[in-house]
Amino acid sequence: MDVLIIDDEQPAREEIRHLLTQEADLRVVGECANAIEGISAINRHKPDVVFLDIQMPRISGLEMLSMLDPETLPRIVFLTAFDEYAVQAFDQDAFDYLLKPIDPARLDVTLRRLRRDRSPEQASALFQAAAPLKQIPCPGHLRVLLIKVDDVEFATSKASGVHITTHTGSEHFTELSLRTLEEKTPFLRCHRQYLVNPEHIREIAFQEGGGAEIITRSEHHLPVSRRLLPELKEKLGFA
């Protein structure tokens, strides 16, 4: 099993790594110090299991969950220093959690459970647990910008990754996939590579040949694919 460790404290990562390397069938594919690095590493390494600390800078482990692509969700084992209500609230079967300092015997139980049932995480359970996104994390230099969903006009997927554009025209890179944003925000899919925030649509210009174009409040022109137009019109209430 490929394992990823996400914890902001280096000694804590060292500790769990040490315990995990005792197991022959486990391979630690990476360590991350925060949720941003974590999302990126999950997208990159596609680990089977993630050991995820809850208390982390700006974006907690719980918040990070809702930012992951539901299609490629790894198994999650939460780590926490204190038996939090937040963790207890989860269905025990859906998510496992370990208390720090980690008791090796308790870790064994977790690992046995993981070896027995390697099916991917139940996405439905996750969505029940995780709240809709209010803010979208965008990594900056040494900081994370948390951009309000309401301020975003549209999101687009480019070769360099997913970018969101705010109503002030600034563009930010995000680790979140378009699919995650579509699932977790009110954004509507208008094109294979575009999501639009319906609150920011100023007009839809229909073109000859059945195509259309969305013009946002700050004058951005977004393509609408012919295939998605009927669904879009229906969702906007003028079908």
Binding site: E9, P11, H18, P101, L142
Partner: protein, 568 residues
């Protein structure tokens, strides 16, 4: 003619004397209190009207019958009523007195009624004129009143001459009564005002003696019982009351024992001994004021038969929910009387002391509460901090046992400091050491993600401040600040002397401070409240936050606080 006039004057003056005696006796009653000042409000005017109408009518009855007319002192009531009550009151009194005179009949009945009304009006106009010119004191000047009344009498004579027919009869009447009535009324009105003035002075002197005594006492006992209700504070209070009231002796008891005794009989009334007096027990059990004046209710000392104290006033002191918590007792020896003033004062003092005792207890409770909150804060070590630290420790033990040992030492220093009694003061140096132990632990967790700098002048390390003030601020800067940074968190801890204040500053580079909601931020608000309670405004915490850049928490407190401000 002259002799006639003189004898009539003297007779009328005699009548006036009887009239004035009645006025004097009445002046000793409560009815007269409203009359000692100019009547402005309706109830006072009403009293004024009733009293002076009565005098007006009385003036008629005390008159002397001359032919079919009456030489009288009716004018005094009408004029004075007008002077004190204003034109409307004067007019009303004139009407009342005049109608009464009219009902008695005689050739001059109509003229007398008219002149009485005019006299009331004259008094009222004088009132309005003097008030309008800001010379209210003139209204109480007996000479001015006498002159005014004389003028009113002259007016009356003129009215008689005009109204009474035939003119010869009028002239005859006026010749007979003009001088006696002028003299008697002017003198009577002047003396009447003199009586009023005397009453007013006595009244004011009594009131001022009373309030001076009460104020002096209240000022001196203020705050004494805030320190608690015990032998020491009771003795101080008893001393003050004894000095201020000048009574024979003063005692203070709780519900069981005598706490203090000052004055005559102190040789055998010993503080600390149980209460023996049945009267005191009665006061405590029934929650009532017991007054043994030495006549109706005898006071006899329950300890020594030779005790010279013969009268006692026992007033219960009340605590929470009006429960009796003790008594205050005033004594006088056989040779002296209890003055009414001292009785009233005694009861007032008991109320004052009861309130003080209550306030003192309330303050003690509040202080206890603040202390226990701080204790709670001490005990309430952030569980995340504790378990994360243990987790760190478990990682470090494997790699570097020596460093792990160091961390364990830091942890024990930190917890040991935390268990100190929170009411204790500490030096800034000790606070910095406590914070350093805490920071060493945090640095072991965060490694190079946390950089801390100190800028504390050595000279300031001796400053005193309430223990456990700095650490919660630093912990807050890390927990809600730098630990949320992806990059390096920086915390700067500095101390400065600004004027006669000490400013402790904790600045982080996260800028994530948010005003606490109900539950969180307990640490900071508690530190603020403790400083603010102790030293008063403007001391406490100031928080300046520049979003995403920095948060700076400044703790202001007086430098070298010799005596912390009393908790009020």
């Amino acid at each position: 003619m002259f002799l006639d006039s003189l004898s009539l004057t003297l007779t009328l003056l005699q009548q006036t004397c009887v009239y004035l005696v009645i006025a004097y006796l009445l002046s000793r009653t409560r009815i007269f209190i409203p009359l000692m000042n100019v009547a402005v409000r309706l109830p006072h005017r009403l009293t004024c009207y009733v009293v002076f109408s009565a005098f007006c009518i009385m003036g008629t009855y005390f008159g002397l019958k001359i032919d079919d007319s009456i030489a009288n002192t009716r004018a005094i009531g009408a004029v004075l009523g007008g002077v004190l009550g204003g034109p409307s009151v004067g007019l009303a009194i004139g009407f009342t007195g005049g109608l009464h005179r009219y009902s008695l009949g005689g050739p001059s009945a109509l003229a007398c009624m008219l002149s009485t009304i005019v006299e009331g009006l004259i008094g009222g106009i004088f009132h309005s004129y003097m008030r309008g010119h800001g010379r209210i004191q003139t209204l109480f000047n007996p000479l001015a009143i006498a002159a005014l009344t004389l003028a009113a009498e002259i007016t009356q004579m003129l009215i008689l001459l005009i109204v009474v027919q035939p003119f010869s009869a009028a002239r005859h009447l006026v010749e007979q009564i003009a001088v006696p009535m002028g003299v008697a009324n002017a003198l009577g009105a002047g003396l009447f005002m003199r009586i009023l003035l005397d009453r007013r002075q006595i009244h004011e002197r009594q009131a001022s003696v009373f309030s001076t005594k009460a104020l002096a006492l209240a000022t001196r006992v203020e705050g004494v019982l805030h320190e608690g209700f015990n032998i020491d504070t009771s003795t101080r209070v008893a001393h003050i009351i004894h000095e201020e009231l000048g009574v024979g002796a003063v005692a203070v008891t709780d519900t069981r024992n005598l706490l203090a005794f000052i004055g005559i009989g102190a040789d055998h009334h010993l503080p600390g001994t149980p209460i023996t007096s049945a009267l005191t027990r009665r006061a405590i059990e029934n929650n009532e004021v017991v007054y043994a004046d030495g006549n109706a209710l005898a006071y006899r000392c329950s300890i020594s038969p030779k005790c010279p104290l013969a009268a006692s006033l026992i007033i219960p002191l009340l605590g929470e929910e009006r429960h009796v918590i003790g008594t205050i007792k005033l004594y006088e020896p056989r040779s002296r009387l209890f003055s009414t003033i001292n009785r009233t004062l005694g009861e007032g003092i008991a109320r004052l002391l009861s309130t003080q005792i209550l306030a003192g207890r309330y303050m003690q409770q509040r202080e206890l509460l603040a202390q226990s909150e701080i204790k709670l804060l001490h005990a309430q070590v952030n569980p995340h901090f504790l378990f994360n630290t243990l987790n760190t420790l478990s990682a470090i033990i494997r790699r570097d046992p020596e460093r792990a040992r160091h961390l364990v030492l830091n942890l024990s220093t930190f917890f040991r400091n935390n268990l100190k009694r929170p009411s204790e003061e500490a030096s800034l140096g000790e606070e910095i050491d406590h914070v350093t132990a805490y920071l060493d632990i945090e640095k072991a967790r965060f490694l190079d993600r946390l950089v801390v700098e100190f800028d504390v002048p050595v000279a300031l390390r001796q400053c005193r401040l309430p223990a456990f003030s700095l650490q919660p601020i630093v912990e807050n800067a890390i927990k809600h600040g730098t630990s949320h940074l992806l990059g390096v968190g920086r915390v700067l801890i500095s101390a400065r002397q600004i004027g006669d204040e000490l400013h402790l500053c904790v600045e982080d580079n996260a800028g994530l401070y948010e005003a606490p909601r109900e539950s969180n931020g307990l640490g900071l608000s508690l530190v603020h409240r403790r400083i603010a309670d102790r030293y008063g405004p403007p001391y406490g915490l100031d928080i300046a936050c520049e979003r995403e850049l920095s948060t700076r928490v400044t703790l202001r407190l007086p430098l070298a606080p010799t005596a912390p401000m009393a908790l009020v």
